[in-house]
């Protein structure tokens, strides 16, 4: 868990009372209808959320959610139909896979994953809608304002950039698109893949890709050595070295010069 940087606290203390800025993406068929019913039933809910209507929770790209957080929204809520209720058959299952992925990645950062939430609300669950929204607002309020624009938040900005890049990664997006098929229908050999085995594979791929993007982000402005990267990313230098090799193979990272015993690397244009 991150601690809000000093300036955020100041802002909260001095300026007009801070109100969290939260967007809730609601699918047309269940959660948006549940919100409508909350209105019809006059369920009273704190006002600090704004609904954006979408057709299906499956539409929500996790990258969009993180981009919105990166640009300063205090929280993003995605609400879909309950599993099995999806108007488009199974869009919400895909939403679940993608949101888990995004939250997992955010969990690796000091920003944390609590500002992004996926949940289910049916068209008749006005109370549940109110509860989920209220709890989310409360939890965002507890975390305080999004620290992204504060001085001294460069680390967080770098981390979220790495998350966004990871969420746009071709290999991972292709994998996420397949997870459900593999999980429910087996692999191409007609074998059942163990849930734990699949989860481990996905976990490894996500960790690797996140680290590589984090390296690219750190080496964007400044030439970096492996020990320096290892320290900033709090990982074993041996592991960082492996990713540096891979990134050089991909022509994403270039060798610039040697300082002392350490070669320095820089992110290449276009990454």
């Amino acid at each position: 868990m991150m601690t809000p940087p000093a300036k955020a606290k100041d802002k909260a203390a001095n300026a007009a009372p801070w109100e969290p800025k939260i967007v809730a993406f609601c699918c047309n068929w269940c959660s948006y209808a549940g919100a409508d019913l909350a209105g019809v039933s006059r369920v009273q809910i704190p006002s600090e959320f704004r609904i954006v209507r979408i057709m299906c929770s499956g539409r929500i790209d996790p990258e969009l959610c993180v981009r919105l957080l990166r640009e300063g929204l205090d929280g993003v809520l995605v609400l879909g139909c309950h599993p099995g209720d999806c108007h488009y058959i199974d869009g919400n299952y895909f939403a679940e896979i993608k949101m888990e992925w995004a939250r997992h990645l955010l969990g690796k950062t000091s920003f944390g994953s609590e500002r992004l939430l996926l949940d289910w609300v049916s068209a008749s669950e006005d109370q549940l809608f109110a509860t989920i929204v209220t709890d989310f607002i409360d939890s965002v309020k507890q975390m305080g304002p999004n620290p992204i624009d504060d001085d001294g938040s460069q680390d967080i900005r770098d981390e979220l950039d790495a998350v966004r890049m990871t969420l746009s990664d071709f290999r991972l997006r292709a994998l996420m698109g397949k997870v459900r098929t593999i999980r429910d229908k087996g692999n191409v050999y007609g074998e059942n893949v163990k849930r734990s085995e699949l989860d481990a594979l996905v976990g490894d791929a996500v960790e690797s890709e996140y680290l590589r993007n984090a390296i690219l982000v750190l080496a964007r402005e400044k030439d970096m050595s492996v020990p320096e990267l290892a320290e900033r990313l709090d990982r074993d230098p041996q592991l960082i070295m492996k990713h540096v090799v891979r990134l050089r193979q991909r022509n994403a990272l270039e060798f610039t010069k040697i300082e002392g015993n350490d070669p320095l690397y820089k992110t290449m244009g276009g990454f």
Partner: protein, 1001 residues
């Protein structure tokens, strides 16, 4: 042209059956009048919390149908109305309708609800089974269609407050009490539904005296999140959460003492559903069901039961009809006495739910007299097996629970079937009475700078009483791109819509925003206004500042006003990026393909041709008839073989039907309206719609020496033997559930119990001295099939019950067969030496379904039956447009049920083929082929098979199949897909506008 059929149909009853019939007919080009006695359509389904076996939220799946019916230009909803006269002949009936007016001008009421806010009179709400509260002026439930208020005269004290507060002046106290009109239609569908059994006369259950004894429908309202207890199961006695709940089955069903002998068909499953949901809602809750037999006869119902018993620990005790409930006067606990094995047990519960049966509708007798329709001895409508939806009055059809107690999918299939039969009566009048609106030519707005008009609604005081509407309007005027803004008292009124159209012209607006209520109900209305003003309807957005703002922040006017400004600003940000869209038009080849020449396929082909369309009927064998060829007699006395001969003759005579026997499909490509099919015999077909009626097969038993001992045969073989004559077995044993409800085949075959009764009765009638034993797990003669069970018992058929732990054993010695079973009913071992053992071999899916499903790109169930688009509301459709299914291909069912489904599928096909073109969704996905690498990930996630690889392996979205969910967009690894109307940039700009006033980078 006096004799030409009138292109209109009357549907009596606005429950799910009536709504489905109305939508099918209206889509098929006919005018429909829906006559509903209550103030809203929706019926009992609107009261339900969840539906079995998928636990779908009932209102979630029903509400879109209500809205569709409410706004369909070809459907007239006549609420608070009853039929008071009927005369004429098929194609030309005159029906008299009488409507109660109840002092509200339905055309003026906007449903804003201010009248109910001010109304001082509170009473109980029948929609909530009188557990909740409503005012004297009310809507029955929030999603009511039409959304208009009515006054309950029995409650109203005449204070005049509602009139004083009604903005649109819709309340007129001195209105005539009733209005009578005469409507001309060509056919009538009766769908009045059912009445719940009232258990108050059964004093032994204490329903009136013990507060914690409730009916199943009361329990259903408690479970509903929008019900009186907000979805919590609470004891009506003291408002506490119960720990143990009992469910008693067959209350007002299968009870000769009440003169109600039939089975209500749905209570076993709804009780189980209620137990499952109750346990999910209330951690630690224990439920116990008491039934005579547990009748889980529908598709995947048995899987549902197994999950409930094994995973949730729900207890089902069979062999028990509970006769009474005792309440402890001190603890108020309820005691139930039941039998388990050799023991008599007493068990205490906090609540008892009475699984009340389905009775004929309250106005059933009246409707029968008015229309001259015959009823059966149970008070439901009378039909023959082979004409299950037709009455004795030509042109008058029946669908749903008025025919017999039944669940929602059967009801929906019947509703579509009745619609198809009604359509065939009035087919010459197709298109005569439908409403077609002429729109002015669309203005070209391409390349223009956004000129946005914002209309902010007061909704009486609903919004204006909380939000500073003039302030929001003023704020909107200053937003980039906005050139006009105004506030209106009721933006949805006809006057304001005219005003919007004028402002579009006067200010040259090219985007329109209405900030008011929910787009789910009102977007279609405003889009219509745009079209009438010559603007593309997709240049419109709504900001929901009522349901999502003023109503849920009633006591925070400042916050609500700021939020309204934010919502308007966010909507303006999206509106700047709106683009005109056109619904793709798909040309339709007016010809159908029916796969399978059994009874279902033949019925579908005949009914499609009845509506004037050509049909290709393909049958893989060389003869028509399918499984029906082996059915020799029916329980209702009709002769199946005679009817089969007549049906085959009709197929051969019908010029519109082209028969292809001894062949199968080789290849199949295309989509709704345009399928290209080649057959293995080389024939090439081009069709617009497809019906799958490929049937199912009889299980070949491996048990009980079948195939090794000539005296062990299957049920169908028994029927063949019986027709040969000189067949006089002395001791016949019929074993149920062979190849069904076992480890390898979970589900129930639905029809076998009744088939056993049919054949047992025939054996007994042929020779009363024959001993017939039926060895069963549960007797599942649901509905009126129960009559056959009673008759078999009356004729002396002996029943013995086995369980999975004590399966029947057959041994084979030199002296002959010896049969042993431990009877769970009497708890004794029974030994019989039969000279004939009949195995009730289950219905199984055809293994060839896999190939066919692959060709059609439609899914199968795990078992291998075809899987329909939605278990409840789309029972004969696939998710893929233009492909339908019916009969045994979908799962085991009776002849009459197959005919209903086949007729329903035929009606759906005819509705598709009746149009020159179909309109698809406009907000579809589109692939940027410059970016696409052809990885195919999108193809895997698309639920509608709407994405294919083009020539260069790159993905191409077929816009006519795409439904616009956007899952491919959010999944595409290369970010190469975007979707119209919910594009990446539109969503981003709308969301980011919350923190960045001028829009984000």
């Amino acid at each position: 042209m006096a004799d030409k059929a009138i292109g209109a149909v009357m549907v009596v009853g606005g429950g799910i059956a009536g709504i489905q019939s109305a939508l099918d007919l209206a889509d098929g080009g006919f005018r429909v009048y829906v006559i509903e006695r209550s103030p809203s359509i929706g019926g009992v389904m609107a009261q339900l919390d969840k539906t079995f076996p998928t636990n779908d939220c009932s209102m979630c799946i029903l509400a879109p149908k209500l809205v569709d019916a409410g706004r369909h230009p070809n459907i007239d909803l006549k609420i608070l109305s009853e039929v008071t006269g009927f005369k004429g002949k098929p194609g030309n009936f005159k029906v008299e309708i009488t409507r109660k007016t109840l002092s509200v001008d339905l055309d003026k009421c906007t449903g804003c609800g201010e009248c109910a806010e001010i109304c001082p009179v509170e009473g109980t709400n029948p929609f909530d089974e009188n557990l909740g509260v409503r005012k004297a002026i009310y809507v029955p439930f929030p999603q009511a269609v039409p959304l208009v208020y009515t006054i309950d005269r029995s409650m109203c004290i005449g204070c005049g407050e509602c009139e004083r507060f009604c903005g649109p002046n819709a309340i007129v106290y001195d209105m005539e009490e009733t209005v009578t009109e005469s409507i001309k239609v060509g056919a009538v569908i009766l769908a009045p539904g059912f009445e719940e059994f009232d258990p108050s006369k059964l004093t032994a259950y204490g329903y009136k005296d013990y507060p914690n004894v409730v009916t199943s429908i009361e329990f259903e309202r408690m479970m509903s999140a929008s019900g009186p207890t907000g979805g919590h199961i609470l004891s009506p006695l003291d408002g506490r959460i119960p720990e143990k709940v009992a469910f008693l089955h067959c209350i007002g069903s299968r009870d000769s003492s009440l003169g109600i002998t039939y089975c209500s068909s749905v209570c076993c499953m709804y009780s189980l559903k209620e137990a499952i949901i109750a346990q999910e809602h209330t951690p630690g809750l224990k439920t116990h069901l008491f039934a005579m037999d547990f009748r889980a006869v529908g598709k995947q119902f048995e899987d549902y039961r197994i999950r409930a018993e094994e995973e949730l620990g729900i207890k089902i005790t069979k062999n028990n009809r509970i006769g009474s409930i005792e309440e402890d006067p001190v603890t108020r606990k309820l005691t139930i006495r039941y039998i388990e094995g050799d023991h008599i047990l007493d068990e205490e519960f906090d609540m008892v739910v009475l699984g009340v049966g389905l009775r004929p509708p309250i106005n059933g007798d009246y409707l029968a007299r008015t229309f001259g329709v015959e009823l059966n001895e149970h008070g439901f409508t009378a039909h023959s097996t082979f004409k299950p939806l037709e009455t004795n009055v030509p042109g008058v059809f029946v669908a749903g629970a008025f025919r017999s107690p039944k669940d929602i999918p059967d009801t929906v299939a019947e509703a579509s079937g009745a619609a198809a039969l009604a359509a065939a009566v009035v087919v010459e009048g197709r298109g005569d009475l439908v409403t077609e609106i002429e729109y002015p030519e669309e203005r070209d707005v391409e390349g223009q700078e956004p000129r946005i008009g914002v209309f902010v609604c007061h909704c009486g005081t609903n919004i204006g009483g909380v939000v500073d509407v003039p302030g929001v309007t003023e704020y909107a005027r200053g937003l980039p791109g906005v050139v006009f803004a105004d506030d209106n008292l009721y933006t949805c009124s006809a006057d304001t819509n005219k005003y919007i159209a004028n402002m579009i012209k006067d200010h040259d607006l090219n985007r329109v925003i209405v900030a008011s209520c929910t787009p789910r109900t009102h977007e279609p209305l405003f889009r219509q206004t745009l079209k009438e003003a010559g603007l593309n309807p997709y240049l419109f957005e709504m900001a929901n500042i009522r349901d999502h703002c003023s109503w849920i922040h009633m006591h925070e006017p400042n916050e609500a006003t700021e939020k309204s400004k934010d919502l308007v600003r966010m909507t303006v940000s999206k509106a700047r990026l709106l683009e005109p869209l056109v619904k793709p038009r798909i040309p339709i080849t007016p010809r159908a393909l029916v796969i399978g020449g059994g009874l279902s396929g033949m019925t579908a082909a005949l009914e499609i041709s009845e509506q004037g369309f050509e049909v290709d009927l393909i049958e893989k064998t060389n003869a028509l008839g399918g499984n029906l060829r082996r059915v020799t007699h029916s329980i209702t006395g009709e002769k199946p073989q005679d009817i089969l001969k007549e049906t085959i003759a009709a197929i051969n005579e019908r010029k519109l039907i082209t028969l292809h026997t001894g062949t199968e499909i080789e290849t199949l490509t295309g989509y709704m309206g345009n399928f290209d099919v080649t057959l293995k015999d080389g024939a090439v077909l081009k069709v617009g719609a497809i019906v799958v009626a490929s049937g199912a097969i009889e299980y070949k038993p491996t048990e009980y020496y079948y195939g090794r001992n000539p005296n062990v045969i299957t049920q169908l073989e028994l029927e063949e033997e019986m027709t040969k004559g000189a067949f006089a077995p002395k001791n016949v044993i019929i074993i149920q559930c062979v190849g069904a409800r076992d480890e390898n085949h979970h589900n129930c075959s639905r029809i076998c119990c009744t088939t056993s009764m049919k054949n047992a009765i025939a054996l007994k009638k042929a020779n009363p001295n024959t001993n017939v034993y039926i060895i069963y797990k549960d007797i599942r003669t649901y509905g009126f099939n129960e009559d056959s069970y009673l008759e078999a018992a009356r004729l002396g058929v002996v029943f013995a019950r086995y369980s999975d732990e004590s399966k029947p054993r057959l041994s084979y010695t030199k002296k002959g067969l010896v049969f042993r079973v431990f009877d769970r009913f009497t708890n004794t071992e029974i030994t019989i030496a039969p000279d004939l053992v009949v195995l009730n071999a289950a219905t199984h899916p055809d293994p060839k379904n896999k190939v066919l499903a692959g060709l059609l790109k439609v899914p199968l169930t795990q078992e291998g039956y075809f899987l329909e688009a939605h278990m409840k509301l789309r029972p004969v459709e696939f998710a893929t447009d233009g492909i339908f299914a019916c009969g045994l291909a979908l799962g085991p069912k009776f002849i009459s049920e197959s005919i209903n489904q086949a007729t329903a599928a035929a009606g759906k096909v005819a509705a598709v083929l009746s149009k020159d073109f179909a309109e698809a969704e406009a907000n579809t996905a589109e692939v940027d082929s410059e970016i696409c690498t052809g990885c195919g990930t999108c193809i895997q996630v698309c639920p509608y098979s709407a994405i294919e690889r083009g020539e260069d392996r790159k993905a191409v979205v077929n816009a006519v199949l795409c439904k616009g969910c956007g899952t491919c967009v959010a999944t595409c690894p290369e970010l190469a897909i975007d979707i119209h109307h919910y594009s990446n940039e539109q969503l981003y700009q709308q969301a980011i506008a919350l923190i960045k006033n001028g829009g984000g980078a």
